[in-house]
């Protein structure tokens, strides 16, 4: 950190100006949502449709994030610690959806679940297209590569000698994983959960393609914003946006606190 007693250099002034401009721009965006949303927030509580969309978003985001984190832990462990088939193709394919537009992912999911596989699942009582299960599938597909990337980066940072030590002391791979690896990255897993949950709450593109937006059936919070704008009810759309903003703010606070906790911990370790 620079000493404030020294005069500012040109580059420092430029960085300050850019930061200030971007800060003002984002503040304007947030202010529009907050000011517009607050004036009609009470309407939300009387709107059965919005209440449904809040409930559906919270439920699907929580389920899809839980599944994503569990699967991501296994895949990250394989990619970082096991790798008996060593191929960069595996990790490239697994992480590729991160850079794909969500509409494309949604289109692909729609084609997969429109195929005989989707029909078989429907006959088994697991409808994916145009059903809330489809929302979970869309959020999971979008979030899984992100969760894997977050957890993998933590596993890379983990000191392998801790696992070696556990192994030398007699622990097998499973014992080492549950007693050492997982507890060592537990805070990062919680952070990954919060970030993925936040993304799942805001997921729109893939969900739209796979399940559409049917009121009181597949209408999530982003879907509610879209529908209300489409029908000209800007107040309701802003109120729904304010609720999303609130969720994001809470998640951001949680992740910031946890990240600080990790920093403090590593300083004393």
């Amino acid at each position: 950190m620079r000493d404030s007693k020294y005069p500012l250099e040109k580059f420092e002034i430029l960085s300050f100006l850019i930061t200030s401009l971007v800060f003002l721009f984002f503040l304007t965006i947030i202010s529009f949502i907050v000011v517009g949303g607050f004036s009609s927030i009470s309407k939300v509580f009387f709107s059965k449709e919005i209440r449904f969309s809040i409930g559906l978003s919270l439920l699907t985001a929580t389920i899809s994030t839980l599944i994503a984190i569990v699967i991501a832990i296994f895949i990250s462990f394989y990619l970082e610690k096991v790798k008996f088939i060593k191929s960069p193709i595996i990790s490239t394919i697994i992480e590729l959806p991160l850079s794909l537009p969500y509409l494309v992912i949604g289109l692909s999911l729609l084609l997969i679940f429109s195929s005989p596989l989707g029909k078989t699942l429907r006959n088994m009582g697991i409808p994916v297209i145009f059903s809330p299960i489809g929302i979970v599938v869309a959020q999971l597909t979008v979030n899984l590569p992100y969760a894997i990337k977050l957890i993998r980066s933590e596993l890379t940072k983990l000191d392998s000698r801790l696992e070696f030590t556990a192994s030398i002391l007699g622990a097998n791979r499973t014992q080492t994983f549950f007693a050492i690896t997982l507890p060592q990255i537990r805070v990062s897993i919680i952070i990954a959960f919060a970030l993925c949950w936040q993304r799942a709450i805001g997921e729109f593109g893939a969900t739209l393609m796979l399940v559409g937006i049917t009121a009181m059936k597949t209408e999530t919070l982003p879907g509610a914003i879209y529908l209300n704008i489409a029908t000209g009810d800007t107040d309701m759309a802003l109120a729904a946006a304010l609720i999303m903003l609130f969720f994001c703010l809470v998640t951001l606070l949680i992740t910031t606190i946890l990240q600080k906790k990790i920093k403090v911990k590593s300083r004393y370790d």
């Binding site: 000698r161 070696f164 030590t165 556990a166 192994s167 030398i168 097998n172 060592q184 911990k265 004393y268």
Partner: protein, 237 residues
């Protein structure tokens, strides 16, 4: 008895080549070498972390080269302790017994016993992040010794340690050697430590064992130029 027979290992651009030595029960050896000479890699190979490209490692006459590290019955102490910071000191020490599914009361009893011997009974319920360096190293040593290893591998365990703590640890290691007729392999930069603890001293240069000496002949000129340079540099230092 432990026998390293023509052991070679290549990792990246570094190579441990044709390592050979024997250690009888109750004996200890020291491996001296410069930073990057492959000392820690050799210890980790003996512990089973790396599998060699060729050669064998025998423990009590049995080839353990293909046996995983958790079944070798070896104790290992790293220079920077490698304590599990999400566990208390007590849990760290008892870890090796817990994974063997030993009864909790028995684990507690053994942990209390060894902690008393190493004068760390007062820190058992503390987190490793709040104890001193000396206490950390004693904890790491207790954790390795509590499983009664046949071989104890020590990777520069006394570096940056005050003389009192160092003496406590050296006494405990000598005691372990006598009591259990155990084998000790010590990796160190410190010639005094090597002389104090080892019966035989090997000098490792760039992944190859270049000289085998005893504490009394350590500073006698060797046939190998690199060994002489290493010994002279360290004597001067």
């Amino acid at each position: 008895m432990i026998k390293i027979d023509n052991f070679s290992l290549k990792r990246g651009s570094f190579c441990l080549s044709n390592i050979n030595f024997n250690i009888e029960d109750g004996q200890s050896i020291a491996i001296l070498g410069e930073t990057g000479s492959g000392k820690t890699m050799l210890l980790e190979s003996i512990a089973g972390i790396y599998r060699g490209n060729s050669g064998c490692i025998y423990v009590n006459g049995k080839d353990v080269s293909s046996i995983s590290s958790n079944k070798r019955g070896i104790g290992f102490v790293y220079q920077d302790y490698c304590l599990f910071n999400h566990m208390s000191v007590r849990e760290n020490i008892g870890f090796g017994l817990k994974v063997k599914k030993m009864d909790k009361s028995l684990i507690d009893m053994k942990v209390n016993e060894i902690a008393k011997q190493f004068h760390i009974s007062n820190i058992l319920d503390k987190n490793p992040s709040v104890i001193s360096g000396g206490e950390k190293q004693r904890t790491a040593l207790c954790r390795s010794l509590i499983i009664n290893p046949r071989v104890l591998l020590l990777d520069e365990p006394f570096s940056a340690m005050d003389p009192n703590t160092k003496q406590i640890l050296i006494d405990a290691i000598i005691d372990y050697k006598k009591k259990y007729n155990g084998i000790i392999i010590l990796v160190t930069h410190d010639f005094k430590e090597a002389i104090k603890l080892a019966d035989t001293i090997h000098v490792l240069v760039k992944g190859k064992l270049k000289a085998t000496k005893t504490p009394s002949t350590l500073f006698m000129a060797s046939e190998n130029y690199e060994v002489n340079t290493f010994l002279q540099c360290n004597t001067r230092g």
